[in-house]
């Protein structure tokens, strides 16, 4: 019973979500918010492998997202659509549905290989020097994409909407929502299985003390490569999904600001807490979307009581003032993040009666 409670709950929830989207009970806006929540969950939990469990300070997660997004989008557009640059489709567009997981996998592999760019320098450096290498890697990846003209350079790349239409032509279902939910569940499961396995404990050992871990026969370099590649590969999957949801990507959307968002989600949830990063991703996305509605209300209210001059209106920019302020305050009162380094079942021990998540 306990073994099946979480999978059953997830299955019911995602089936309900897909069903509601299919019957059009929830509109496209709510669907896209759901999908962004899922993508942020992948991003923050995969970033948590490196920044939380392994205790490094990497800050270039968006670079790998960009690699995954570009590789999978270009592959999909090249294979299944009639594009100006890449010519007629190689395969029949009907196959797009069946090839989509493979394309996501290609995004994973490409981003994981890009992860080597950071993983190999990390053998020798730690701490702030590694932080710099990751920032530099982020700049390098985005400016490489800007300089490749076949994928649009700084103008961006589009055409992924056609893939979604092609998939919906085969079977009429909200396919993007399904893929996003499936890959979120799979990647959180993968991280959980990996980090809490005996083998994956090597990463946590690296966090505690690198020298001691090496003495206890942890192959530190190999663990680092695995951690970086897994983390960046999953970021690539998130990027691939991101690109297909929006239908348009450009290098500017994978800059330092996106990496900052990932950092915020990890440290908001707590270093080394998987349920913390899932929770913080949900909270962060909801906050971001919720403020979109709250700001006009506040603006109207302040104008109503004549606190603001008539010419000045609160704009959506205030969102990015309020969110950092909330975070600064949170850091003052709870510097270890929402969950610290504990999991949900450590915070509420009685939950263990109901589920065992393996």
């Amino acid at each position: 019973m306990r073994r099946f409670s979480v999978p059953a709950l997830l299955l019911i929830m995602s089936a309900a979500l897909v069903g509601m989207a299919y019957q059009e009970y929830i509109d496209l806006y709510i669907q896209s918010v759901m999908m962004f929540i899922c993508i942020n969950i992948i991003l923050s939990s995969s970033f948590n492998i490196v920044n939380g469990f392994m205790g490094e300070f990497a800050c270039g997660h968006a670079a790998f997202m960009a690699v995954g997004a570009y590789v999978s989008s270009v592959l999909n557009v090249m294979l299944f659509t009639n594009d100006k640059v890449f010519g007629p489709p190689v395969l029949s567009p009907d196959l797009a549905l069946y090839f989509f997981p493979l394309v996501l996998l290609a995004g994973f592999v490409a981003a994981a290989l890009a992860g080597l760019l950071v993983a190999i320098p990390s053998f020798k450096t730690r701490g702030d020097y590694l932080a710099i290498i990751t920032i530099a890697a982020n700049f390098i990846v985005t400016s490489t994409i800007i300089n490749i003209d076949t994928v649009g350079g700084s103008r961006g790349f589009m055409g992924m909407k056609k893939i979604i239409y092609a998939m919906e032509d085969v079977v009429e279902l909200p396919w993007m929502l399904i893929w996003v939910i499936v890959s979120t569940i799979l990647s959180v499961w993968l991280i959980r299985r990996f980090v809490f396995s005996t083998y994956g404990k090597g990463i946590i050992a690296l966090h505690q003390d690198e020298v001691a871990a090496e003495i206890m026969s942890v192959n530190t370099n190999k663990m680092k490569v695995i951690a970086f590649m897994l983390s960046s590969g999953l970021a690539g999957v998130a990027g691939a999904l991101f690109g297909h949801i929006l239908g348009y990507i450009n290098p500017g959307s994978f800059g330092i600001l996106k990496s900052t968002e990932c950092l915020v989600m990890v440290y908001l949830g707590g270093m080394g807490s998987l349920s913390g990063s899932v929770l913080s991703a949900i909270l962060f996305t909801l906050l971001l979307e919720g403020l979109r509605f709250v700001i006009p209300w506040v603006d109207g209210g302040l104008h109503f009581i004549h606190l603001l001059p008539d010419a000045y209106h609160l704009s959506q920019v205030w969102k990015w003032v309020i969110i950092p302020l909330i975070l600064i305050l949170l850091m003052q009162f709870r510097p270890e993040g929402i969950m610290g380094n504990r999991e949900l079942s450590d915070v509420f021990p009685r939950l263990k009666r109901w589920y065992s998540f393996k």
Partner: protein, 303 residues
Amino acid sequence: MLESIFQNLINALQWGSFYSLIALGYTMVYGVLVLINFAHGDIFMVGAYIAFFIATFLIGHFTLPGGAVLALSIPLTMVLTAGVGVTLERIAYRPLRRKGAHRLYVVITALMCGLVLENGNLALLGASRKSFPELVDKVVYTVGSVSMTNLKIAVVISAISVFLILQFIVTRTKIGMAMRAISYDKFAVPLMGIPIDTVIVFTFVLGSSFAGLAGLLFALSYPILDPFMGAIIGWKAFIAAVVGGIGDIRGAFLGGFLLGFVEILVVAFFPSTYRDLIAFTILMIILCVRPTGLFGVAKTTKI
């Protein structure tokens, strides 16, 4: 050919001076607190805006010659920007330090402070770009076909003098000795009767006021201000500081000039879109070969 190289070298000196001035602030704070003060680039931006408001206020309310306005706005900008930096330290960093929070959480707080400064500025002042008033007449000196303006020379000279001042303070004065002591052992220093908070505030005063100076000089050289001008230049200056060996003043100074030279030379020989790509690749290779930077000393870990 030779002349264009000289011209590029002079441009690189100017561009490197800005990086150096900001990198010095990063490295001061890092050397004392082991804190990457990610808000520093935005303090530079705030400095430029403060300089803008002071200069327009002085021009609008008093009939002063440009030189006098400049002479008044340099110290005022430095003082006010230092105030901003100290306020950040007082409100955001010090409580966390008192609680003994993990170092990375302080870094995240710094990152958030930077975002607040950037977007707060954008939200309050609007997206319209401000153009800085022209305070000094541009004088162009030409040697052969290499031309330089008095502004460029002033920028380079002020970067060098700031470096010399900081080097003097850190190595020759008592408060500099206290700074080095804090970076050496943060727990033993209060036991020796050194007021640790005063020293840290002084560090922030130094770093932020020179960031304000850099902002003013930047606004004089490139008179268009926008709220995000500090973000990219700040990140790059930080990378420069690390390449020089973070925590070391000579390292930050040389790292800033190195980054300036690499960027200008890349632009001279390649299309300008390759600037970031090649510059950062070179810096990454340097860091892979010398993981602690040019002047950094590897810390020995005890087992």
